[in-house]
């Protein structure tokens, strides 16, 4: 691409625009949640035969709240344990466990979330718990993998310098290693959360109410309008959170 005199302002403009993307998506999400019952004519066109056009059993904001709670709980578990595990296996005492954990991280991704969910139900019963456990397990792997990759990718000279400056092990970790690995760790968190927002819809099949409810109800009753309503909300939520995390990632420390 030729770099003209206008290249830089244009780039700045694009960056500025990108900073607004989360607000745009999340705004659309709120708008959709509010306007859903008002757009009857649209649903009429989508599902001409349906008796009821808008999902009624709970408001979309309630479902959205439950969905966010489910994914948030799973993300909290995933991020705390995943990063802790990644840190543990990159320290001297835990290094023996590194190959096993790394291998496990790649192997775990092969477990289909439906199957994990199905296995969690016999152990934990129906409701919120199995879906949170399934999402945590499924989301753990990108976080662990990226934490390990991020910490291992820190420039060896920077670590040597940190030691030679007289930083303690804790200071090295918090002031040098984690900040330097942070963009990569955050990328893993982003993957994990975005995938889980979509996957959480499966919770509706095991009695955990969330934005998957309209989808399941729509499939069962052959009502496309319901499906579309649930899918729209989930997609907007995923795009909003994804762009939010991507803005954060870009603003981290790289200039």
């Amino acid at each position: 691409m030729p770099l003209g005199p206008d290249a830089l302002p244009a780039q700045d403009k694009r960056r500025f625009a990108r900073g607004f993307m989360p607000a745009v998506w999340l705004g659309l999400l709120v708008l959709a949640g509010w306007a859903m019952p008002l757009a009857e004519s649209l649903w009429q066109w989508v599902a001409p035969d349906a008796r009821q056009l808008v999902y009624q059993r709970a408001t979309f904001f309630t479902l959205l709240g439950r969905h966010t709670l489910t994914v948030g709980l799973a993300a909290a578990i995933t991020v705390s344990t995943g990063i802790a595990a990644g840190i543990a296996v990159t320290r001297a005492p835990g290094r023996d466990f590194m190959p096993l954990v790394a291998q496990l991280a790649s192997l775990g991704q092969t477990f289909p979330p439906v199957a994990v969910l199905a296995l969690a139900v016999p152990a934990l019963g129906f409701g919120l718990l199995p879906i949170v456990v399934a999402l945590s397990l499924y989301g753990l792997l990108p976080v662990v993998r990226n934490t390990i990759a991020g910490l291992q990718g820190v420039d060896a000279a920077a670590i040597t310098a940190a030691r030679a400056m007289g930083m303690t092990a804790g200071q090295r970790l918090w002031r040098v290693e984690l900040p330097l690995a942070a963009p990569i760790i955050l990328a893993g968190v982003r993957t994990s959360i975005t995938v889980n927002i979509a996957t959480a819809a499966l919770g509706a099949t095991v009695g955990a109410s969330n934005l998957g409810d309209p989808i399941i109800a729509g499939i069962v009753n052959g009502n496309t309008a319901y499906v579309l309503q649930g899918a729209l909300m989930i997609a907007l939520l995923a795009l909003g959170v994804d762009s939010l995390l991507s803005v954060w990632q870009r603003h981290m420390w790289r200039t």
């Binding site: 420039d155 000279a157 920077a158 040597t160 310098a161 940190a162 030679a164 400056m165």
Partner: protein, 321 residues
């Protein structure tokens, strides 16, 4: 003052450093030279306990280094390396402030110290303070590395091939800057290098290592005049030893007053070394040059005959100038 007594380092079955002893008095500049893998970097890293020594004793400021807490010890020793090891997520000012902040200096004092160091190292604060390491050239990054090493006014300075990755011109500029700093600050410095010219130029004391052992140590001049082995001779440049010796002496110490003869056409500044003077003579096909001071005013002259005679330095030159 740093003293090493019969220090060894064993990695598994190999002896990386084998029974070495040397002393660097307060405010002196010592260079460890040798081919790669001779144990010079390991020796350096044992001084700030990045690597633990397995035998002998290292004494810093009158106390064995094992008696210090390693973290406290390292905060008293500046350390600069070839890869700079600058923290990429911190700007220049924050990088320089690393050790003062670890020592919990008050913010105002830290800021003042950073400004002072940036000026000392020729990095205008207005331009560089908020730049990030990836925005710096190799030479600038290395200046920041040295500033960071000096930040908390350490007891001594360790440098591991700090200029090894720089182009020759930048390297020379930084060497000049370093010797200027050393003249001002009188730090005890241990420098590891494989560049013999750099070592001869900067050091008061040379330690030549080979396969973990010290093969010879002494002042640059002593080594140049009397290499004890073919290895040291080769390291000192063999046939070019004469030139290296000439590069240890400055023109201003050996010029003669301006005579009755017309001043020679070629001019050289009085801070040049005899080696540079010889080079100018060869370039200009003349046997006589005019020596000028920093204001370009002729202050003396130097002839080839005089140069050849004086290039064999007298005793009082042995301390280096």
């Amino acid at each position: 003052m740093i003293e090493l007594y019969n220090v060894s380092k064993r990695f598994g079955d190999t002896l990386a450093v084998d029974d070495i002893s040397f002393t660097v008095p307060e405010g002196k500049f010592c260079a460890l030279v040798g081919t790669s893998g001779c144990g010079k970097s390991t020796t350096l890293r044992m001084i700030n306990r990045l690597t633990a020594h397995t035998g002998g004793e290292i004494v810093l400021d009158g106390q064995a280094i094992n008696a210090y807490d390693p973290v406290q010890l390292r905060r008293r020793i500046g350390y600069a390396i070839q890869d700079t090891g600058l923290f990429p997520h911190w700007n220049v000012a924050r990088n320089i402030a690393t050790v003062p902040r670890l020592l919990k200096w008050p913010a105002g004092r830290v800021r003042q110290r950073v400004d002072e160091l940036m000026q000392m190292l020729g990095l205008p604060a207005a331009e560089f303070a908020s730049k990030y390491p990836h925005q710096l050239s190799g030479g600038q990054a290395q200046r920041v590395g040295v500033a960071r090493a000096l930040a908390a006014d350490p007891y001594m300075l360790l440098m591991d091939e700090p200029f090894g990755a720089l182009d020759p011109i930048t390297r020379e500029t930084l060497q000049t800057m370093l010797s200027g700093l050393q003249a001002r600050l009188h730090k005890t410095v241990v420098l590891v290098t494989h560049d013999m010219d750099e070592a001869l130029r900067l050091a008061d004391h040379l330690v030549v290592m080979r396969e973990g052992k010290i093969v010879q140590q002494g002042s640059p001049l002593a080594l140049l005049q009397k290499p004890e082995s073919e290895f040291v001779n080769a390291l000192l440049g063999g046939l070019e030893r004469g030139l290296k010796q000439a590069s240890l002496t400055r023109v201003r110490d050996h010029m003669t007053p301006l005579g009755a003869m017309l001043p020679a056409h070629s001019r050289i500044p009085d801070r040049y070394t005899l080696r540079q003077a010889l080079s100018v003579m060869l370039r200009d096909h003349c046997e006589r040059v005019t020596v000028v001071d920093q204001h370009d005013v002729p202050v003396g002259e130097l002839s080839l005959r005089k140069l050849v005679k004086k290039a064999r330095p007298e005793k009082d030159d042995a301390s280096g100038s």
